[in-house]
C-alpha cells in the first residue's frame, strides 16, 4: 500500500528521522527526504509510504514525472500522487516492479555518478530522458501520468479548469459569455 499522508513538518518531529539521502532538485531548491520506506517533503508537509518499490526509486519517479510534464506552479505532492500507482502495481506484478526498478537504475547509470536526481538542471535530465523515451519504462511512466496527473481534481484549479458544473446550474449565470477583451 502506498499512502500519501499529510505529515508534520520535519522540525516538529521527534528525532530519529534519518536523512538517509537528500535529493536535491535543480532551481527551486526544494528537498525530498527518504526516511525508512517513505519519501517525505519536509517543507510541504506530506509523505509517501512505499511498499513494493524502493523509496529512492519513488523519489526519482517523482522528479522524472516533473521533468516529463513540468508545471512550475504544481507542487510535488501531485506528482507523487500521480506516480504512486506504480508502487501499487509493482506490489501485484513482479514484472512491473522489475520494469520500474531496472528502468530507474538504468536512468541513474546514464546520468553519471550522482544519478538522475543528481543532475542539477532540467535540461540535463531531459537530455537523458530523450535518450530513453522509446523504452517501455519511459512510456509506462509517461503514459500513466496523462491520467494520473491531469485527472486529479485538486490540480484543475491550478490550471483554471472548473470541472463539474451541473450542480451549480451550468454557466448560464456564471460567466459562459463574460469575455470582455475582444
Amino acid at each position: 500500500m502506498v499512502t500519501i499522508y499529510e505529515s508534520k513538518p520535519v522540525h516538529e518531529k521527534k528525532p530519529g528521522l534519518s536523512r538517509r539521502e537528500l535529493l536535491k532538485r535543480g532551481g527551486v531548491g526544494a528537498l525530498l527526504v527518504i526516511s525508512g520506506s517513505a519519501v517525505i517533503s519536509p517543507e510541504h508537509a506530506w509523505g509517501l509510504e512505499t511498499s513494493a518499490l524502493k523509496p529512492e526509486t519513488m523519489a526519482t519517479l517523482i522528479q522524472m514525472a516533473r521533468d516529463i510534464y513540468p508545471h512550475d506552479q504544481v507542487p510535488d505532492k501531485y506528482y507523487a500522487i500521480a506516480v504512486k500507482a506504480h508502487d501499487e502495481q509493482a506490489g501485484k506484478d513482479l514484472a512491473h516492479k522489475d520494469l520500474i526498478e531496472k528502468g530507474v537504475a538504468d536512468l541513474d547509470l546514464k546520468s553519471g555518478k550522482d544519478g538522475y536526481t543528481g543532475l542539477g538542471w532540467e535540461e540535463q535530465r531531459v537530455a537523458v530522458l530523450r535518450d530513453i523515451q522509446d523504452t517501455p519504462f519511459f512510456q509506462a511512466v509517461r503514459g500513466g501520468l496523462v491520467v494520473g496527473l491531469y485527472n486529479q481534481k485538486q490540480v484543475w484549479p491550478i490550471f483554471g479548469y472548473e470541472g463539474e458544473s451541473y450542480s451549480k446550474g451550468g454557466y448560464m449565470a456564471r460567466g459562459f459569455d463574460d469575455i470582455e477583451w475582444l
Binding site: 509517461r142 485527472n151 454557466y171 448560464m172 459569455d177 469575455i179
Partner: protein
C-alpha cells in the same frame, strides 16, 4: 410502456443498435404500428445518470471493447486500440454527440461527377439527390429541434464562440454563427433549454440536447410497439436457404447466446460494428459475409478530415464554459479546387476539459513545449476542423485473423491511410484556423492532430448498381431484400458536414419505405 416480444416472434423488425440511425428508425416504425425489437450492446443509463467528468463519463459510456488499428494515421500509433471515440449504451453516440446538425450540399451527393476521378479515391455519386432528401431533412430538423430552423432561435454565443466570431470577422468570413444545433435554445418537445453546462460530450444532464435515448426511444416505447433490449450484443445474422434473413443471434447480459427471430433486420451499429457483423455472418451461401457480393462491405471507411486548432491568448477565455460546439464558420465548406483540394470543410468551436486536453493535444508529447500550452488552459480558444475525406477501398474494417472478443467474435481491425487530398485540406484548415486566432491576438497556436474517430462512415455504401456498393437508395441490401443498413455506414461519400442529421433523415425515409414494402407484402 415497453413491449416485450417473444424470441420466436418472427413478425418483428429487429434493429441492431439504438443510436442516431437505429433509435430513430425504431421510433418511426413503432409510430406506424410496426413491432420492433432493438438489440443494443450497451447498458441503459438515463440522462440524470450522466457524469460531468471526462474520464468517468468515458468509462460509463464509451465503446472500449477491443479493436485494432493499422495504416499511416496517427491514431494507430497513439491509440492503437481506440480507433473510434463512440458510445456503447442505449442512445448510442447521440449521448456523446455535440449536436451540430447540418444538411449536405447538393454537390456532395454527386462527388464523382463533380470532382471527377481522383487517383486513390473510390468516389461515387449517391443514388439520391439533395432534392430527394430535402423533405426528410426538414422532418429531421423539426424532430431534433435544430436551432435556426423552424423559427427556433440560435443559441447564445459563449466565450469560445465570441473569439471565433471576432476572428472570422477579421478574416472576412461571411457565414459565422452559433450553428444549427440540436440543442434547445428554449424549452421544446419536453426538453429543457441549454444551461451552458459545457459537458455536451459527456451526455447532457439537462436533456437539452437531442438524443435517441430520451427523445426517440421513450416515444416509441409509449406506442407499445418498441422494445429496447440493452446488454444484447448481436453476433450473427441468420438466413434461410432462399437467402432471406431470419433472425439475429446475440449474447445477452450473462453472455448466453439467444436468437431473436425477425421478419426484417436493420443494422445500425455504427460504421465499425455494422460491417463487422455482416462479415461475421458469413455462411456457405454467403462465404464473404452477408450483402457482400460487391466485395464492398467494410471498405471505403471514412472518418472526415479532422484536426483542431487551439489558440492561446494573453487574456482569459474559459472556452470550456457553455456549449461545446455552438459556433461555426461555413465559408470553407464550398468545393473550390483552387485551394489545392476538392471538397470543403467546416470550422466549429470545440473545447475539451483539462483531462482530455492533456490526452489529445499532442498524444505522446511531453516536455515544456507541451506543458506550457496546458499552463494557459484558461486562456485558450479552440475549434475543430471537419471536412470531406476521400473514400478509399484500402481504408477498411476487417475481421482480425485471431483476436476475439469475450463472445468469441473476431475483433474489428480499422485500417486508415490519409489520401493526399485529406492532407492538403487539413493543412489548409490549420493555416486558416491559426490565422483566425492570430488575427485576434493569439500569442501561440496549436495545430492539433485528429482525435480517435467520432464520425465513422461509409463501410456499407449506398450505390445505384449492385456491383458498386452494399445497399440501394433506401439502405436495403442489394443482395438481400429484408436486410437493411440504417446508420452512417450507408454513406456513399462523407460530405463536409457532421453526419447525424443526414443519418436521421435517411432513417425517417427508410422507415417509410419499409412500412410501404411491408404492407405491399414484398418483404
Amino acid at each position: 410502456m415497453t413491449a416485450p416480444f417473444d424470441l420466436k416472434n418472427d413478425g418483428v423488425v429487429v434493429i441492431i443498435g439504438s443510436g442516431a440511425g437505429g433509435g430513430t428508425l425504431g421510433n418511426e416504425l413503432a409510430q406506424k404500428g410496426i413491432d420492433v425489437v432493438i438489440l443494443e450492446a450497451g447498458a441503459r443509463h438515463e440522462y440524470q445518470d450522466f457524469i460531468n467528468d471526462e474520464w468517468d463519463s468515458f468509462a460509463q459510456l464509451a465503446w472500449t471493447d477491443k479493436r485494432t488499428t493499422s495504416g499511416d494515421w496517427r491514431v494507430a500509433k497513439d491509440f492503437p486500440n481506440l480507433p473510434a471515440w463512440i458510445v456503447k449504451a442505449v442512445g448510442g453516440s447521440t449521448a456523446h454527440w455535440a449536436g451540430a446538425s447540418l444538411r449536405f450540399q447538393e454537390h456532395e451527393f454527386k462527388t464523382l461527377s463533380t470532382y471527377g476521378k481522383l487517383e486513390g479515391a473510390n468516389l461515387l455519386d449517391w443514388p439520391i439527390t439533395l432534392a430527394e432528401l430535402e423533405p426528410y431533412y426538414a422532418k429531421a430538423e423539426d424532430r431534433l429541434g435544430v436551432t435556426l430552423t423552424n423559427n427556433i432561435p440560435g443559441l447564445p454565443g459563449n466565450n469560445n464562440f465570441k473569439v471565433m466570431k471576432a476572428g472570422a470577422d477579421k478574416l472576412g468570413y461571411k457565414e459565422c454563427h452559433t450553428g444549427r444545433m440540436a440543442i434547445n435554445s428554449e424549452p421544446r418537445d419536453d426538453r429543457n433549454a441549454c444551461q451552458q453546462t459545457g459537458f455536451c460530450f459527456q451526455g447532457c444532464k439537462w436533456g437539452a440536447k437531442w438524443s435517441t435515448l430520451y427523445s426517440e426511444i421513450p416515444k416509441g416505447e409509449a406506442t407499445g410497439h418498441l422494445e429496447v433490449r440493452p446488454n444484447a450484443m448481436a453476433i450473427n445474422i441468420n438466413h434461410d436457404a432462399s437467402g432471406k434473413v431470419t433472425g439475429v443471434v446475440y449474447a445477452d447480459k450473462d453472455g448466453r447466446l439467444r436468437e431473436q427471430k425477425a421478419r426484417i433486420v436493420a443494422v445500425a451499429g455504427n460504421s465499425i460494428e455494422s460491417p463487422r457483423l455482416l462479415l461475421n455472418s458469413a455462411s456457405s451461401q454467403f462465404p464473404d459475409g452477408l450483402a457482400n457480393s460487391s466485395g464492398q462491405v467494410g471498405k471505403n471507411y471514412m472518418r472526415h478530415t479532422t484536426g483542431s486548432v487551439y489558440g492561446i491568448f494573453d487574456k482569459p477565455v474559459h472556452m470550456y464554459r457553455g456549449t461545446t460546439m455552438a459556433g461555426i464558420i461555413r465559408d470553407e465548406a464550398r468545393n473550390d479546387p483552387s485551394r489545392g483540394f476538392v471538397g470543403g470543410y467546416e470550422l466549429e468551436t470545440l473545447s475539451l476539459g483539462l483531462p482530455f486536453m492533456a490526452a489529445f493535444l499532442n498524444p505522446g508529447g511531453w516536455g515544456r513545449s507541451f506543458t506550457t500550452a496546458l499552463d494557459h488552459y484558461d486562456h485558450m480558444a479552440g475549434m475543430w476542423i471537419v471536412g470531406e475525406d476521400m473514400p478509399r477501398e484500402e481504408n477498411r474494417i476487417t475481421l482480425h485473423a485471431d483476436m476475439k472478443d469475450e463472445h468469441g467474435m473476431p475483433v474489428a481491425d480499422v485500417h486508415f491511410d490519409d489520401h493526399s487530398n485529406d492532407t492538403a485540406m487539413r493543412n489548409h484548415a490549420y493555416k486558416q484556423g491559426s490565422a483566425l486566432y492570430e488575427a485576434v491576438g493569439a500569442t501561440r497556436t496549436l495545430p492539433t492532430p485528429p482525435y480517435p474517430s467520432t464520425h465513422n462512415l461509409g463501410t456499407n455504401r449506398m450505390s445505384e448498381k449492385a456491383a458498386d456498393g452494399v445497399v440501394n437508395k433506401h439502405g436495403q441490401a442489394h443482395d438481400i431484400k429484408n436486410l437493411f443498413v440504417s446508420d452512417g455506414s450507408q454513406f456513399t461519400t462523407g460530405g463536409a458536414e457532421n453526419p447525424t442529421l443526414t443519418i436521421v433523415s435517411l432513417a425517417i425515409r427508410q422507415a417509410e419505405y419499409i412500412a410501404g414494402q411491408m404492407s405491399a407484402k414484398s418483404i
